[in-house]
Symmetry: C2
Subunit: 123 residues, 2 copies
């Protein structure tokens, strides 16, 4: 079984790098437990495990900003997944398309993106 190749950590989790399936733009990193991996594969909707809330969550279940999974890749050590997705709206709960909207310049973090939605309107 494909799931046997995965190396979950001591919390039973594996990180997943989520990127745009066409452009490779990295949108976010989240964590999955075994059930979240299975559900993602079965439904084609990105599903993660929230470490803070300690429960599974379907990305976009509140915001509508779902992720349709086009492909799933695994790294050499089997301890990191990648999801290629079609992102509806933005991946970041702060309103940005990508969670990586800050870049280091001259020792400080600078904003490098504009919001694509108003988080107050969707959460």
């Amino acid at each position: 079984m494909f799931i046997d190749e995965l190396e979950f950590d001591d919390r039973g989790l594996i990180p997943a790098v989520v990127c745009d399936h066409e452009t490779n733009e990295v949108l976010m990193v989240a964590y999955m437990n075994e059930e979240a991996v299975r559900q993602t594969v079965e439904t084609g909707r990105a599903t993660f495990y929230s470490r803070s809330r300690q429960k599974m969550w379907v990305k976009g279940e509140t915001s509508g900003h779902t992720q349709d999974v086009k492909w799933i890749r695994l790294d050499c050590d089997g301890d990191t997944l990648m999801l290629g997705v079609e992102q509806t709206g933005g991946a970041c709960h702060l309103g940005y398309r990508s969670c990586f909207f800050r870049e280091l310049r001259d020792g400080q973090w600078h904003m490098i993106a504009e919001k694509v939605f108003d988080p107050d309107a969707v959460y």
Copy 2:
């Protein structure tokens, strides 16, 4: 200080997604401690912390397959870094450009890449 924005985990580590600085192709995911972050910023060479060997390592110090860091980004929660790099050779110790050389198809992992170097020759 930029380092104060980083949320290191209970092991003192933060994951870093390493991608090609131009194409966004994800090459690998590795972990950094605070010293590895500082050294990466100061030297411009990607430097990580090995969880298995419990020590810092400069990517490519053995293989010559170094990563020149062109930009560093931080996600919304401050708990994941991204490095945009110029990769010499391949990032994967098994000889592939990217560690993500397997893709899930019909319930099995399939190879989707060719080796770009012979690992026996460089390690």
